[in-house]
């Protein structure tokens, strides 16, 4: 980034849909969110990637004003949260992790209720419900109770309900955790369609493939952002060399590699081993082959491009004690 670009980014806060500094939330003795800084640009899909309990949901709840931060500042669409939370309601759309529309109301009744609560007039209500029904393929389900919908149908209804009032910012908390792969693909198509209309989307996930689709990404672990950036950039900047090993006796190969101080982690993928090594080592592939030959394990090895999972493993301290040092 040039100095001019840096300056312009710093001066025009308005370019960011969300800016947060030192965001912290403590529940009793647990620091659920621990000093997070965020700058999320407008009209982009921004992802939170992290395991359960990494602070994704808590952060999203703070951003939409449902939880007060213990420390830190949040600016959402130019307004301080949670101070302006009530004024921001019509500009935000929020999809909870658990399906939270009413099981005993039909699809149409749920949509009508949400439209009315968001203050849509009669004409706009009709128009928006029709538009959402077309966009998310809900017409056939109008008379069905929400409790009888499949996972994918529910999630389409929830996204439809969250976008009825045409919010500028959508906060989606693990929207695809209970959904089949085809529905997930369709769902992401819908998200990209919303982004082209200028909507900013913040989505949390623990799926690597979904994280890879985001424009920007923050990897969370134990309430901290351990890596942040574009997915491609994160993968090419990974502080590790990646070697894939194919061996008949994967257990023996794994044993042989783990004793090498240069090997940071070994993960098994079927018959193959995914090995992360210290990036300062020269010729990692040869080193791996040498190690395996020393241990008399027959194997083949290739250097490969890092995946987002490797980035995740590297950012969270290679599966050992979680590194508290932010990276990336």
């Amino acid at each position: 980034m040039t100095a001019a670009a840096l300056r312009s980014a710093a001066t025009s806060q308005g370019d960011y849909a969300i800016s947060a500094r030192g965001l912290t939330r403590v529940f009793g003795a647990v620091r659920a969110v621990d000093g997070i800084d965020l700058d999320i640009p407008r009209a982009r899909i921004y992802g939170f990637l992290g395991p359960n309990g990494s602070g994704k949901s808590t952060t999203i709840r703070i951003l939409c004003g449902l939880l007060r931060p213990t420390a830190g500042t949040v600016d959402v669409l130019g307004h301080a949260m949670p101070r302006d939370a009530e004024r921001m309601r019509t500009r935000l759309g929020y999809m909870t992790q658990k399906f939270s529309l009413w099981d005993d109301l039909t699809v149409r009744e749920n949509l009508e209720f949400m439209a009315q609560v968001f203050g849509l007039g009669a004409a706009r209500k009709r128009e928006r419900i029709a538009a959402v029904a077309t966009e998310f393929d809900l017409e056939q389900l109008f008379r069905q109770r929400a409790g009888t919908l499949s996972g994918g149908q529910r999630q389409r209804l929830a996204l439809g309900a969250a976008t009825l009032h045409e919010p500028e910012l959508l906060l989606l908390d693990e929207p695809t955790s209970a959904v089949d792969p085809q529905s997930r693909r369709d769902f992401w198509e819908s998200l990209f369609a919303l982004v082209t209309r200028g909507v900013t989307i913040l989505v949390s996930t623990h799926y690597m493939d979904e994280a890879e689709r985001c424009h920007g990404l923050a990897i969370l672990a134990s309430g901290k952002v351990v890596a942040q950036g574009e997915p491609q950039q994160l993968m090419s900047d990974i502080p590790a060399s990646v070697v894939e090993v194919e061996a008949a006796d994967t257990a023996a190969a794994r044993q042989a590699l783990l004793v090498d101080p240069g090997v940071r982690s070994v993960a098994q993928l079927g018959m193959r081993l995914h090995v992360l090594l210290d990036p300062t080592l020269a010729e990692p592939r040869e080193r791996v082959l040498r190690r395996l030959a020393d241990a008399a394990v027959a194997a083949q090895a290739v250097s490969v491009r890092a995946s987002l999972e490797d980035v995740f493993v590297a950012a969270t301290g290679f599966g050992r004690a979680n590194s508290s040092r932010p990276q990336g």
């Binding site: 449902l66 007060r68 909870t96 109301l105 009744e109 009508e112 209720f113 609560v117 968001f118």
Partner: protein
């Protein structure tokens, strides 16, 4: 604003209409309660089991026992041979009243200085004591000549309930008890249910205001409460012959005020409870003192000062006062200003507590 309240009302009514159990409870609870209470609660006690120890065995002693039996208050069981035997039977709960006629019955009967017969009363059972004391007024047979003719000091006339029927005393207040029971439970559960099912997180992320949510939740139940009032009144008038002396409009106004007060009490509970089960428990916690202290069972003026103060905090106390006044004494609502005002104050304070305690936040 109005459309948001309307949205909540529509949603509540739709959900209620689909929840068959709750819907059944709206009519089932009042119906069951009034039939149960109306028939079972009976302070005109009759047929108490009694046993006699007759150590005199004279004509007069037998005549006395027969006279007591003729009152209908007691029903005689087999006689006991001696006092300890009688006491054991009372301890086992076989008899509630013992009539002990001493061997010197005839001497005592003719004299005028000592009690003639001893009545043993099981004080563990409510009402028995008062009833049995009435038995003691049975005149001594065969003593008419020497017996001083007693002219009672007081003549008693029971206004508004000349036949002294329990149903007349119980049913009006029962409207309050039943409304208290159903209204508190319904609203206490109404918000907690949204919390339990996860709907609340979505709801508080919408522009709806706390008071709009509260109002939308309460209004359908005000209507339901009035339906219940009608049901109880109808059954009370048709089956238990309870008179409706006052104006029906006044009656419904008083009921609406009481319904609103109990609904807000339920709302306050729902802001404390985390689960529906807790909400039910807390509802019952308010229900029992209401039933005991409101004057529904025991006369309010006879209660200890502390109990009276506590009773002032319970909406049922004021409603019982109002409904008895309107329904039985035919008093206009204007004559019931004080309890109406107290109910109004309760309503405002409870509503303020509920609104202040309900945050549109998760923490």
């Amino acid at each position: 604003m109005l459309s948001r309240i309307l949205a909540i009302i529509t949603k509540e009514v739709r959900q209620l209409a689909r929840d068959r159990l709750t819907f059944g409870m709206i009519l089932g609870i009042p119906l069951m309660q009034i039939l149960l209470f109306g028939f079972a609660i009976n302070f005109d006690v009759r047929d108490l089991r009694a046993a006699v120890v007759d150590d005199a065995r004279t004509t007069h002693s037998r005549a006395l026992v027969a006279a007591m039996e003729a009152t209908g208050v007691i029903e005689l069981a087999a006689p006991s041979p001696d006092l300890p035997h009688l006491q054991r039977r009372m301890q086992r709960g076989e008899v509630s009243i013992g009539i002990v006629i001493p061997a010197d019955f005839e001497r005592r009967r003719l004299g005028n200085d000592r009690a003639v017969v001893q009545l043993l009363i099981d004080g563990a059972e409510p009402m028995v004591d008062a009833v049995a004391r009435g038995l003691a007024a049975v005149p001594m047979p065969g003593r008419a000549g020497s017996y001083p003719l007693r002219v009672p000091v007081f003549e008693v006339r029971t206004e508004y309930n000349p036949e002294r029927r329990t149903a007349v005393q119980v049913v009006p207040a029962l409207i309050g008890v039943i409304l208290n029971m159903t209204m508190v439970i319904f609203t206490a559960a109404a918000i907690v249910r949204e919390r339990e099912r996860g709907n609340l997180e979505l709801l508080i992320a919408t522009p709806i205001r706390s008071w709009e949510l509260m109002a939308g939740k309460l209004l359908p139940y005000v209507f339901i409460g009035l339906v219940q009032t009608t049901l109880i009144l109808t059954v009370g008038a048709r089956i238990f012959d309870v008179p409706i002396n006052g104006s029906l409009l006044d009656l419904y106004l008083a009921a609406a005020l009481f319904i609103a007060a109990t609904l807000t009490l339920g709302l306050v509970i729902s802001t404390f409870a985390r689960t529906q089960f807790q909400a039910f428990q807390m509802s019952f916690l308010t229900l029992l003192p209401s039933i005991l202290l409101s004057g529904f069972v025991f006369p309010f003026d006879g209660m200890p000062r502390l109990a009276q103060w506590i009773a002032q905090l319970l909406p049922l106390t004021h409603f019982v006062e109002m409904i008895r006044g309107i329904l039985l004494r035919g008093a206009p609502l204007a004559a019931m200003q004080v309890p109406a005002l107290k109910l109004g104050v309760f309503l405002i304070i409870a509503l303020a507590i509920a609104t202040l305690r309900f945050h549109k936040r998760l923490d």
